[in-house]
């Protein structure tokens, strides 16, 4: 890990120094400064991540867990070192509880296809919230179609708060699994996962948290949360695409059948039968995304060195500023104003479709997301097909928000 151009942890973030670490932030869009407000879709990458990946390819790349030669040992050490970095980052008890996947989607599909198929039976209930991303809905529907499980959905109120009394009332004797997002990608709502997991453990219900929007913004301690599974993707936490993580408690993972078959995940193979490798390799068939994992490790080191508490404090301050400024834009309605929320500002502009808002802002160099955010059920719940969404990252500033507000003035200019 290269030294970071940031000050000691007690001090406020030196965002200018952080921004200097992200080469893309120096890019111009048709001569205008890039204002990147779409980190919830995918975050930009610091040079520390890019350098770490390039360094592996240039000095120590080979396949892992295979070669008798030194390069392979170096690559294996770096790859397994990244696993240890992830373990420490989410405070898992053991590194074997960290399974590398392609992304959070694959991590959730893995649980649905293995734990789900092995242990859930017709009539068993899986409880979700109305705020889930499609990646935490569709895998359970596939499982339902295969096994006859029942999917239940806990409601949200008009502000986007999860209604805990209704949530708890939906837990029955048949509830076998609760799968909830840590933070809503469309609204920014923080779900009380500690409370949910404690209740679930007392009732013997397995829990899965979709942490893709949690890990980039909050200190995450899976043992403290008390979940059985925690899934997240690397690219939203400043790592590369194509690498994600499934944390699973060892006793759960041990009990599950393998997900995919192939190399790496076996102990012995004959044409009659095979035996499987121990954790974590049992769930990592085939050559893994070696350099992606190492890049993710570098990203998590970067975030840790800056300090997650400081990042969270800075983003909370920016969110309050942004929500306040957007609330004053004529004709703008904020979507998602939960009491506990982070990093996401969804909104609609009277008489202007979010896509048109996005196109006008883009002409000003401002990148936001416009659409249903892969969360159509929550859009339906709020009576919308789409919103515009500005989301924050480690490099976001008040200047970005001011540019957004100015850009929204341009939207009004074009659409009258």
């Amino acid at each position: 890990m290269t030294a970071l151009a940031v000050a000691a942890k007690a001090e406020p973030l030196d965002v200018a120094a952080i921004r200097a670490d992200f080469p893309i932030l120096g890019e111009k869009m048709d001569g205008k400064d890039l204002v990147f407000l779409d980190s919830a879709a995918s975050a930009q990458k610091p040079r520390q991540v890019l350098d770490a990946m390039r360094h592996v390819y240039e000095t120590s790349y080979a396949n892992v867990h295979r070669g008798a030669y030194r390069l392979s040992a170096l690559a294996t050490d770096a790859f397994e070192g990244a696993r240890e970095t992830v373990r420490a980052f989410v405070n898992a008890e053991r590194a074997e509880e960290i399974i590398f996947t392609r992304n959070a989607t694959e991590a959730i599909n893995l649980v649905a296809a293995t734990h789900g198929r092995a242990f859930l039976k017709e009539g068993d209930e899986v409880l979700l919230t109305h705020m889930e991303h499609h990646s935490n809905i569709v895998p359970w529907q596939l499982l339902r179609d295969a096994t006859g499980i029942v999917i239940k959905v806990a409601p949200i109120d008009d502000q986007g708060n999860l209604v805990m009394a209704d949530f708890n009332a939906l837990v029955t004797e048949r509830t076998r699994l609760i799968a909830v997002t840590h933070v809503s990608n469309a609204l920014g709502t923080i779900v009380p996962v500690h409370e949910i997991c404690q209740m679930a453990r007392e009732r013997g219900i397995v829990t899965l948290i979709d942490g893709s929007q949690g890990v980039p913004h909050l200190p995450v301690d899976v043992q403290d949360i008390g979940c059985d599974f925690y899934a997240f993707t690397g690219h939203k936490v400043y790592g590369p695409t194509g690498i994600g993580v499934l944390y699973g408690r060892a006793e759960r993972l041990d009990a599950m059948p393998p997900y995919q078959g192939g190399g790496e995940m076996i102990r012995t193979v004959t044409f009659e039968t095979s035996t499987y490798a121990a954790l974590p390799h049992k769930f990592e068939a085939g050559t893994p995304n070696i350099v992606g994992a190492i890049g993710l490790g570098a990203a998590l080191d970067y975030v840790s060195a800056i300090g997650r508490e400081r990042i969270a404090a800075n983003e909370a301050d920016l969110l309050a500023y942004g929500m306040d400024r957007l609330a004053q834009v004529p004709g703008l309605r904020l979507i998602g104003t939960a009491q506990r929320k982070l990093a996401v500002m969804s909104f609609v502009v009277d008489g202007v479709h979010p896509h048109d808002v996005g196109t006008v802002l883009d002409s000003e160099g401002i990148a936001i997301r416009a659409g249903h955010h892969c969360a159509q059920p929550v859009m339906d719940r709020l009576g919308l097909t789409a919103t515009a969404r500005a989301s924050l990252g480690i490099y976001s500033t008040r200047d970005d928000i001011d540019a957004l507000v100015d850009g929204l003035g341009k939207v009004r200019e074009v659409f009258g």
Binding site: H355, T359, S363, G371, M379, T385, A386, V414, F415
Partner: protein
């Protein structure tokens, strides 16, 4: 900003504010739903055909200014047109939105293609081409008896 003005010309903004032939057509004899899975926008196109001619047409749904204006202009144009001409116009319009070359203008549809030039601004915005063509794909699907289409 010049590309932006080119995209959001006054004609488009006007059709967006007050779309023509907007609402369900009941009864109708051809109908299809179009989806743009990128943004979740939907459009339904309704047609009544008599003797090979589009005798009535309407649309409803939710979409951006580009998709609403394009659908609105489409319904204005194809009303009273032969089904064959409506299909030819669709092909030329799609070419207009997606290709750098000028489309071949079918005989008798010169005026319509002139008017549709106003939507050619989407060529500078690749993310928006599907918005412009969604209603047209949906009309074509309806004419071919398909109930659903998508811009995927």
């Amino acid at each position: 900003m010049s590309d932006l003005r080119e995209l959001y010309q006054e004609v488009i903004l006007d059709h967006n504010r007050s779309p023509r032939n907007f609402g369900a057509l009941d009864p109708c004899d051809h109908k299809a739903d179009g989806h743009n899975p990128l943004c979740g926008d939907t459009v339904t196109v309704y047609l009544t055909i008599a003797d090979g001619i589009v005798s009535d047409v309407a649309f409803d749904g939710r979409g951006c200014a580009i998709s609403v204006a394009s659908a609105s202009m489409m319904t204005e144009m194809v009303k009273g047109m032969t089904v064959a001409d409506a299909e030819r116009l669709f092909q030329s319009f799609q070419h207009l939105c997606t290709e750098d070359t000028e489309p071949e203008v079918p005989a008798g549809l010169e005026d319509e293609m002139d008017v549709l030039q106003v939507l050619s601004g989407v060529r500078a915005f690749p993310m928006r081409v599907k918005c412009a063509t969604l209603a047209w794909h949906t009309m074509s699907a309806a004419l071919h008896g398909n109930r659903e289409t998508s811009t995927e």
